[in-house]
Amino acid sequence: MGNESMISLSGMVMTPVLAAGLPLAAINWHSVLFLLFASLASIFAVGVVLADNVVRMALYLVFSLAATAGLFFLAGAEFIGAMQLMIYVGGTLVLLVFGVMLTAQAPFVSIKPSAADRALAGLAGSSLLVVLLAAAVSVDSWQRPGLSEVTAPTATPLGMALLGMRVDGPAAGAAAGAVANGYLLPFEIVSIHLLVVLVGAAYLARAKRRRTPRPIDAAASAVSVVEGITRVELPAALPPRSGSASALVSGGSK
């Protein structure tokens, strides 16, 4: 008895959570980790909205999606969480960061929306949030606290379902020869889709000549043309051959 009270007393001193009077053994660490990842995901998602610098937006998005992967792990979907980390954080966001780096010239790093747009977006966003939260808490069976048990790993059932066979749930007991209720056809469609996307993205982003030259480049090339003509043609004192060249020469000599 005395030993237990000493342990709980030291726990109270050590951890701020225990200052509320919770014994250490009563804390559900699943809930604590959920609160940690949920607050990280939400705070960084709001940070993506509030940041004006596109590089910071990309960084906040990385943190938010990684925290979402933590939430997937906590929900028992460890394969989805791993895929979230590998595909989203490791692939999609690297792609986005490449896009940011390729287009982040000084005037475009932070394009600020107007104050009226901000106010309107805040109003619409908060009303949408209220509607979604009201819908989320309106069903009683969703409010029931869950169990805190570790479930079976899901990688094998997921792989078998993608191959067209179910080894989980009520569909597992289907007789052999019955219609497969797995996900073989969507799996094939997604694979073809990814191939088409690969070809399409390479076609869209191929290097090609600029359709309209940028004003700065056009001005720079005109200046170089004028300098070249004045340097070469004027000391030779030759009559210019074409009308545009004569205009350039006369403009440059003045």
Partner: protein, 128 residues
């Protein structure tokens, strides 16, 4: 109408008894926040890449709901879950989001090559 239950849910989420296991509603609240942030990001940002990031946030909010409803032990005892179907749908959403990001980024780079900007307010060539 649901102000009382809404505030109750928010209190459950915020102060949340650390001794009780989390349920589906907690995941739904996080998913709602991610979804709203994504929608506002899509509507507000003038940078085309910011709009893409908003799309990613929206897809993640939806994914979070799918995973929460598929999780057998967030629903409590005796409740029906989506089972593995929710996780498979979440996996497909992740894959299609990757494909969408690749194509949208290619379009953005093409737009940047043609217009020398990523400001989507300048994309008004098709205006009648």
């Amino acid at each position: 109408m649901n102000i009382v239950s809404l505030s109750a849910g928010c209190c459950l989420f915020a102060t949340g008894p650390l001794t009780e296991p989390v349920g589906v509603v907690h995941y739904l609240i996080v998913g709602a926040i991610l979804f709203t942030a994504g929608v506002v990001c899509m509507a507000l940002k003038r940078n085309a890449l910011g709009v893409l990031m908003g799309i990613e946030l929206v897809l993640n909010g939806a994914n979070l709901n799918f995973v929460a409803f598929s999780s057998p032990y967030l629903r409590g005892a005796g409740s029906a879950t989506l089972g593995l179907d929710g996780q498979v749908i979440a996996l497909f959403v992740i894959l299609l989001a990757a494909a969408e990001a690749a194509v949208a980024l290619a379009i953005t780079l093409n737009f940047y090559n043609n217009h020398s900007t990523v400001d989507i307010d300048r994309a008004d060539d098709l205006k009648g």
